[in-house]
């Protein structure tokens, strides 16, 4: 395996790569929670971050909770709880009603 011929890579989960310092990481955690919840809302789910435990808690309407380590795991768990993928291109997520607005 060769690691010599590329640029340096960001460590950790890729979704955390945009924050360098500990302060940025903390800020990212909270600004992102609102974004995540905007996508989860049409599916009746929400995420919670207590600021202390690593990862996020995913909460279903019936009170079920799941602790997930990163965003990728979050969307996988959300699909299980919602019974369908949380798809940012779907009519449900976009609140456009009717059938799935897939490309023609």
């Amino acid at each position: 395996m060769c690691g010599a011929c590329g640029f340096p890579t960001a460590a950790g989960h890729w979704t955390d790569a945009g924050a360098g310092s500990p302060g940025e990481r903390l800020r990212l955690r909270f600004t992102r929670l609102a974004r995540v919840n905007r996508l989860l809302a049409p599916y009746g789910l929400r995420a919670h971050d207590d600021g202390a435990t690593p990862g996020l808690q995913l909460i279903a309407p019936d009170g079920r909770r799941e602790l997930v380590p990163d965003l990728e795991a979050l969307w996988g768990a959300a699909a299980r709880l919602a019974g369908e993928p949380v798809d940012p291109l779907s009519a449900r997520a976009l609140g456009e009603g009717g059938d799935d607005v897939r490309a023609r």
Binding site: M1, C5, W14, G18, L89, S90, A103
Partner: protein, 315 residues
């Protein structure tokens, strides 16, 4: 790897393979290991936003062709560029050309374009067609994509990439499948560009079904803005790939973040650790990155729908 020809024609090495197979990674390692010395490197991408050149800082001379895939709509641009290289080859000391195709290209189409041009036919000879096959996704691609089969069939050398990440028994079956598709090609394995071991022993090839015509994979561009926040992008893109990773086959782009300019790349659901680009453009090869534009290569993905979705969840 290639040397001067007695007839004075410039040797052209074609590096092809499916979207995300690892063409740039392989070529980057070859250049860094001293292969293709004195070669001009031409990088062709299907989308109009060039990205792969950023990975090839070691190229002695780098040309980017981002006007569409060179085996079809970008054919005229490729022919013009190669003619120009031939004219300057002597003066610039160019000993050969290596062309990294887009993942949507059929290398046979490119070879035909070169052979069919009256000027290039006299001045360029195809030295070798190298097709890269994704060690993780290759079996699925061969089963589902006629283009992946055409790329494998056109090769003189088949390079199995990501060999260290793939399961060895699956890699052995993929190797057997490739040998059945293309019995004359040499098969080698690599991991992040460096040589790796091919699995030993015989294995049963995968059965490849007859393929019905499928919707073509098309490049889509999404302008997310130079100042788009990482919180929004990481949320939206991770959700999109988990939900649609089978349709959004490949994503590439450079985004500005507090942690620096990040080069983002995915192959289906798998996102590579982002590379941190140097802060100024002096450290990158070819045209400077178009920061804030994502290229998504996918099937049945509507550009308006992408934009609407990004405006709602990202803007």
């Amino acid at each position: 790897m290639t040397s001067a020809r007695a007839d004075g024609r410039l040797p052209l090495t074609i590096v092809g393979g499916f979207l995300g197979a690892g063409k740039s990674t392989w070529l980057r390692h070859q250049l860094s290991a001293g292969a293709f010395a004195d070669h001009a490197v031409v990088v062709n991408e299907a989308a109009e936003t060039p990205i792969d050149n950023l990975l090839l800082a070691r190229a002695r001379r780098l040309e980017t062709l981002a006007a569409g895939c060179a085996c079809c709509e970008g054919r005229a641009a490729l022919v013009a560029l190669l003619r120009g290289l031939c004219d300057r080859a002597w003066k610039d000391g160019i000993a050969g050309v290596v062309l990294e195709t887009s993942g949507l290209a059929d290398p046979a189409g490119i070879a035909a374009a070169v052979a069919g041009d009256p000027v290039l036919a006299r001045r360029i000879a195809i030295a070798r067609v190298i097709s890269l096959v994704d060690g993780l996704n290759g079996a699925l691609q061969l089963a589902a994509e006629s283009l992946a089969r055409a790329q494998a069939e056109a090769a003189d050398t088949l390079v199995l990439t990501k060999a260290g990440m793939a399961e060895q028994s699956a890699l052995a079956r993929l190797t057997a499948t490739l040998r059945r598709l293309n019995p004359v090609a040499e098969v080698v394995a690599t991991e992040r560009g460096a040589p790796a071991r091919l699995p030993d022993g015989a294995a049963a090839p995968y059965r490849l079904p007859e393929l019905a015509a499928a919707a073509p994979i098309r490049p889509r561009r999404l302008r997310i803005g130079a100042e788009a926040g990482w919180a929004a992008l990481s949320t939206w893109l991770s959700a999109l790939l988990v939900a649609r990773g089978d349709d959004v086959v490949r994503v590439k782009g450079v985004v500005a973040t507090p942690a620096g300019r990040l080069l983002i790349q995915s192959v289906r659901q798998r996102v590579q650790p982002p590379e941190i680009l140097p802060p100024d453009d002096a450290g990158v090869a070819g045209p400077p990155p178009e920061v804030g534009t994502l290229v998504l290569l996918g099937r049945g993905i509507d550009e308006d729908l992408l934009e609407r979705s990004w405006r709602r969840f990202g803007g």
